[in-house]
């Protein structure tokens, strides 16, 4: 399972980037393209082991499960409840 950013909904606030850096996972990065959009490096991302970015994202629907397109913001219970 992996996550991706839905750019139609993402506001580029970079909360996910900051949280991911704080945890030293560094899977969220600023893409080297003119819009400098936020992307998720699937090789570095440890989802579903880590769900931290989902807890601080303020834009509903902006992070989705790549395979299904299911919105993960706000985070569903299984993303944060044991």
């Amino acid at each position: 399972m992996s996550l991706k950013v839905d750019h139609a909904r993402c506001t580029e606030c970079r909360m996910c980037y900051i949280v991911c850096r704080e945890l030293d996972i560094n899977a969220v990065y600023v893409a080297l393209e003119p819009l400098h959009r936020i992307e998720i490096d699937l090789d570095a991302c440890t989802y579903p082991g880590c769900t931290a970015c989902l807890m601080y994202c303020p834009a509903e629907g902006s992070i989705v499960e790549a395979a299904t397109g299911r919105s993960m913001v706000p985070p569903p219970p299984e993303a944060w409840q044991a």
Binding site: T11, C13, R14, M15, V19, E22, M55, Y56, P58, A79
Partner: protein, 249 residues
């Protein structure tokens, strides 16, 4: 609990990163202090909106936009956010570098919000140019002494004391926006609020992040509780009166 507050909490407050070191403290102050304040201010907001909607003229929309402009005007926004930015001195910068970037981004957000209030005044024809607002006292004076800095920056100088403001105060903004969008159908008023919605929520998330990640020791938590007590004291008298421990050596 009001359904608007319940929805806000279910979506944004209760979801908690497993293992977040400051989460227990955040949830404690949420239950013991924030919920009371959020509920009280939401009730006041809803009462105000319902009263405004009974009026036959649109004067309340003008007053609301002028108040918003006074709170989030460019000069005010720069001052209030500078208070936050300058609470981290250069020697501590390495510990809070991304936090500072978040706060710097918030300057633009707040400045943009004042443009949204101006959009209402322009769209309704109450002013022809935004610069006319500089001559209207109501658009330049606001009564919030603890509004993100200013009076807060002096007694609460710890870099993380403002986590209380990000978390508590911005939640109030989010709840007010939810209430206005739910009850008012004027396209300009909806624009005024809807275009702030995700940004105010981001500012709330800044607070949630600071509390969950950085506010992990009793010493830091004391500063947050002092700031929160001050904010709650402003609205209902149920917070502690301002006796900031931050001034103690």
């Amino acid at each position: 609990m009001h359904p608007i507050l319940e929805e806000f909490c279910d979506k944004w407050v209760w979801p908690t990163m497993p293992g977040a070191p400051g989460a227990e403290f955040r949830l404690k102050i949420t239950h013991e202090q924030c919920l009371k304040g959020w509920e009280l201010l939401l009730e006041r907001n809803l009462r105000d909106i319902e009263e405004e909607l009974t009026r036959t003229d649109e004067g309340w929309k003008r007053d609301h936009a002028l108040r918003g402009y006074a709170a989030e005007g460019v000069h005010m926004s720069i001052k209030q956010m500078s208070a936050q930015l300058l609470s981290v001195d250069i020697g501590e910068q390495e510990n809070y570098i991304d936090l500072q970037r978040m706060r710097a981004r918030q300057i633009w957000d707040e400045c943009k919000h004042s443009k949204l209030h101006a959009d209402v005044l322009l769209g309704k024809g109450w002013v022809k140019y935004e610069r006319e607002l500089m001559d209207i006292a109501q658009a330049n004076v606001q009564p919030l002494p603890a509004y993100f800095g200013l009076s807060m920056m002096f007694p609460h100088i710890h870099p993380l004391a403002r986590a209380a403001q990000n978390y508590y105060t911005e939640a109030n903004a989010c709840l007010g926006i939810m209430a206005y969008i739910k009850l008012v159908d004027d396209p300009l008023v909806v624009h005024e609020h809807l275009s702030q919605r995700d940004e105010e929520l981001m500012h709330f998330m800044e607070g949630k992040f600071q509390l969950d990640f950085y506010c992990t020791t009793p010493e830091i938590q004391r500063h947050v509780e002092d700031a929160l007590g001050y904010l709650l004291h402003q609205i209902g008298g149920f917070g502690r009166s301002p006796q900031p421990s931050a001034v103690k050596p």
